[in-house]
């Protein structure tokens, strides 16, 4: 199976820190940041390279703040 590599970009200003995406990630690639955005919400961030670009986090995000990339390697 061709290996894939994924990556995400989070619009941290629009993340409301709801954490609904955290459980959605099958490879535990994301966690809530210790830092907060200008609204005072802890935003989500990628914490390792496990991401496979499966889009789970993005499609369950109520505010649609996650863009997902994927490449075959």
């Amino acid at each position: 199976m061709a290996k894939v590599k994924g990556d995400i970009v989070v619009d941290i200003e629009r993340c409301k820190g709801c954490e609904v995406c955290i459980a959605a990630c099958p490879v535990n690639a994301i966690e809530m940041s210790k830092k907060v955005n200008s609204k005072g919400y802890h935003y989500m961030e990628k914490v390792n390279d496990n991401c496979t670009g499966c889009t789970n986090c993005a499609i369950v995000c109520p505010d649609g703040v996650i863009t997902v990339y994927r490449v075959k390697i």
């Binding site: 609904v20 789970n56 109520p62 505010d63 990339y69 994927r70």
Partner: protein
């Protein structure tokens, strides 16, 4: 070979596998963190985008938390008086049969003040799509009891829990309208997990396809959370929803191709 994959060359336009549809406006959603309204809005707009029908789709926003849906959905929209969206959708579809018409409503809007409009639009089998977000509470006005509030469930107007004797039973409106011959596709979904989001999107896509094929009324209920109304964090609310709402409002198709699903 793997080492030279850097962040820069993954994050290229051609590698995008998911991004916000431009059928959602750039306005920050007014919904509370984790609220299913945002997810549901996005799913509908992705379906409209993928079907390429932005210029033929008209939506109706209710009165309730999603009264401002037209701020977020990049299509022509009308804002309805509380409960009246199905009647409005009826008129729009009859006047413009070739347009895609959907109403987007909450539980108070659709199953309390708008019960008659809901039942009669379904009974006439209008060729429209009704999206019904059921979070068992009146969110916008501050968490009052709704027709779908569960027995014993606390709200600002059932502070000691919903008492069936004095406050009546929760109304399974979706099962009710599924009995009407006019309804063609009736389903109950959720948007709290990726799997559920995918199923909801398929259901909404099917609803719009039904409309294209003039099959009659498609009714998609989305059981959703209300963290501020239920006074829980979004993740807790979703957990509470699974443990309490789903047993009473079981997910799945209730009616497909005008046949009740056993």
């Amino acid at each position: 070979m793997e080492e030279n994959i850097t962040k820069e060359n993954i994050r290229k336009k051609e590698n995008i596998v998911y991004k916000k549809t431009n059928l959602m406006t750039d306005k920050v959603l007014s919904y509370c963190p984790g609220c299913g309204h945002g997810t549901t809005h996005r799913i509908i707009m992705e379906v409209v985008d993928e079907m390429g029908i932005q210029s033929e789709t008209l939506g109706i926003a209710p009165v309730g938390c999603s009264v401002l849906a037209y701020e977020f959905m990049n299509i022509d929209m009308q804002e309805a008086a509380h409960g009246r969206a199905p009647a409005m959708a009826t008129a729009m579809k009859r006047l413009m049969p070739e347009k895609y018409i959907f109403s987007y409503q909450g539980d108070g809007d659709l199953a309390a003040i708008g019960t008659a409009e809901t039942i009669h639009a379904c009974n006439r089998g209008e060729n429209i799509t009704i999206i019904f977000v059921n979070n068992g509470i009146y969110g916008m006005t501050g968490g009052q009891m709704a027709p779908t509030t569960l027995p014993g469930m606390k709200s600002s107007t059932s502070p000691y829990g919903r008492d069936i004797v004095t406050m009546g039973n929760p109304l399974k409106i979706t099962e009710l309208i599924a009995q009407l011959p006019g309804t063609y596709f009736v389903t109950r979904q959720a948007v709290h997990t990726p799997a559920n989001v995918r199923k909801t999107k398929k259901a909404i896509r099917k609803a719009f396809e039904n409309q294209k094929l003039k099959k009659g009324l498609s009714f998609v209920e989305v059981v959703s959370n209300c963290s501020s109304g239920w006074k829980m964090t979004p993740v807790q609310a979703n957990k509470w929803m699974v443990e309490n709402m789903f047993p009473f409002y079981p997910l799945g198709d209730i009616k497909v191709d005008r046949e009740l699903v056993k």
